[in-house]
């Protein structure tokens, strides 16, 4: 694409290898907006795979970066030493705005809360939802303009994942874009352009309070009715969740909203980008649609919609010859592990029929592994099953524009043209 990205990438590579290791700052949101973290990861994996960033690299202080596949796996599966409390992002919880959520809890509380909501993505439930997901994808694709540019992020990725989320919550249909907004607001940084004033933290809290107020009305409806299969009813009737206070309700809502929305949304957009950058892979898929499940896994690896998770050491622990101290903040970079040449052959290439496409880190491993992974795969699979017979080409004409976030590897917009419909 002629957006200067090649120059930007060459420049980042030269810079990544010229600067002293201690100056590499993976928490720099600009690096994520411009998608230039890759050479820095490559250098850290080979020269300092367990790397300590100094305190001035992030407002919330020093942190470790774990960049090799096997080390990431070792941390992710050792939940006794590497706790998910008090936060699973680089940001520490704000003393006056703590949002408990089960992804950021350790056993036993994590386990019981997770089990309240996990039946919504059981194999039986996915089977029931499949026809609905397919019909919505069909009508969304059928409504797209032919021969004129439109924003794929808004018209397809956001629309489909928001519809899905509204169904999971049994959320009022006409208000469903509120879910998108709350998802964006929950993770937005000052650079996002989503805030009107400089006091973005106050703005964020105001909107999130409006979110929990809205959902409290739904809770009150559901708690007074017999239990049914939506997430709010499950939380309102669940033994481990029915006594949550307002902030814990909000915390778990945001977990479900962001987890069920941002990740799949950005992978849907990523799949179009990957095919534009790798037209040979699109031709391979068109010639053999049986490759769709494998392509979905490869896209999830290639996109890595959440670039890292944060853990906090509960005791001193030696990893890769370095001493991680009790209380230290540790970022496990799934984005880097998914490009680790010692674990994945030719990792920078997008290969839809690679040998073991499911062996990626994007869903995490261990007890916090993504609870909605099968639903995400199902939506992406159906999306491509319905794209292939309709559109021989979906051409990117402008963008994509990426979000400036250390956590979310995502897109704010991407203009495409569909030249013809089959």
């Amino acid at each position: 694409m002629s957006d200067g990205s090649i120059d930007l990438k060459a420049e980042a590579r030269a810079k990544a290898y010229a600067m002293p290791l201690e100056d590499i700052n993976l928490a720099d949101t600009e690096m994520w907006r411009t998608d230039t973290a890759w050479p820095y990861f490559e250098r850290l994996r080979s020269e300092d795979p367990v790397h300590l960033h100094p305190a001035h690299h992030h407002p919330d202080g020093a942190f470790w970066s774990i960049t090799r596949y096997t080390d990431i796996m070792a941390v992710d599966t050792n939940h006794e030493v590497f706790s998910s409390e008090p936060s699973i992002t680089i940001f520490d919880p704000k003393e006056d705005f703590k949002l408990p959520m089960f992804i950021a809890m350790d056993p036993p509380k994590h386990d019981v809360q997770r089990k309240i909501v996990s039946p919504i993505v059981s194999p039986a439930n996915l089977h029931l939802m499949e026809p609905l997901i397919r019909s919505r994808i069909q009508s969304t694709l059928d409504s797209l303009p032919i021969g004129e540019p439109f924003d794929w992020v808004d018209k397809v990725s956001i629309e489909l994942t928001t519809q899905m989320l509204a169904t999971l919550f049994d959320f009022p249909w006409e208000d469903r874009r509120k879910l998108t907004r709350w998802s964006d607001i929950a993770t937005a940084g000052p650079e996002s352009g989503l805030f009107v004033t400089d006091d973005h933290e106050t703005e964020r809290r105001m909107e999130l309070f409006a979110c929990v107020d809205y959902f409290t009305r739904l809770w009150n409806e559901r708690v007074n009715a017999p239990p049914k299969g939506d997430l709010i009813s499950m939380l309102a009737h669940g033994e481990a969740t029915r006594n949550m206070d307002r902030m814990e309700y909000l915390g778990n809502l945001l977990l479900l909203i962001v987890g069920g929305n941002d990740t799949t949304r950005n992978t849907m957009t990523g799949s179009i980008l990957a095919m534009n950058e790798n037209p040979d892979q699109l031709r391979k898929l068109q010639a053999n649609p049986d490759l769709i499940p494998s392509m979905v896994s490869e896209t999830i690896r290639w996109q890595t919609p959440l670039s890292n998770m944060r853990r906090t050491a509960t005791r001193d622990f030696e990893l890769g010859g370095k001493l991680i101290k009790k209380g230290d903040k540790v970022l496990i970079w799934y984005a880097s592990g998914n490009r680790d040449e010692t674990a994945i052959e030719n990792p920078n290439a997008y290969i839809i029929d690679r040998e073991r496409p499911r062996n990626h880190l994007s869903f995490g491993f261990g007890i916090h592994r993504c609870v909605g992974n099968r639903l995400a795969e199902l939506q992406l699979k159906i999306l491509w099953e319905e794209i292939l017979p309709r559109f021989p080409e979906i051409r990117i004409v402008e963008g994509p524009h990426r979000v400036a976030s250390v956590l979310i590897r995502g897109y704010s917009s991407m203009q495409v043209v569909i030249p013809v419909r089959t």
Binding site: T77, R114, P123, R358, F365, G366, I367
Partner: protein, 106 residues
């Protein structure tokens, strides 16, 4: 070599010889037997190599580890004879082992 029978959820049987030292999961993956995903590659970290061990073989396949118990806790359709195939090491003592796969790995 140990002869292992993998039974798919639909009843299809696959009988293969597996080298001692490999895991029951690796035996399935190396022989392209469907029904075992093994997303984590054998790290006891994803529960996508869930199998049911035939009753006659439960003692010989040993006990679940603490991590295995945790991972199975979040899997679907878990029964008393559920195991993660990556945590069962093949030996001559397991010659004749029979395992069944669940409807889907979840």
């Amino acid at each position: 070599m140990a002869k292992i029978t993998y039974v798919e959820h639909n009843g299809t049987k696959h009988v293969v010889d597996v080298k001692p030292g490999l895991s029951v999961m690796e035996g399935a993956v190396k022989n392209n037997i469907p029904g075992i995903d093994a997303d984590c590659g054998g790290a006891c970290a994803c529960a996508t190599c869930h199998v049911y061990v035939d009753e006659a073989w439960r003692d010989k396949t040993g006990e679940r580890s603490t991590m295995e118990v945790s991972m199975l806790d979040f899997a679907e359709g878990v029964k008393p004879n559920s195991r993660l195939a990556c945590q069962i090491k093949v030996s001559d003592a397991l010659d004749g082992l029979i395992v069944q796969m669940p409807e889907s790995q979840h």
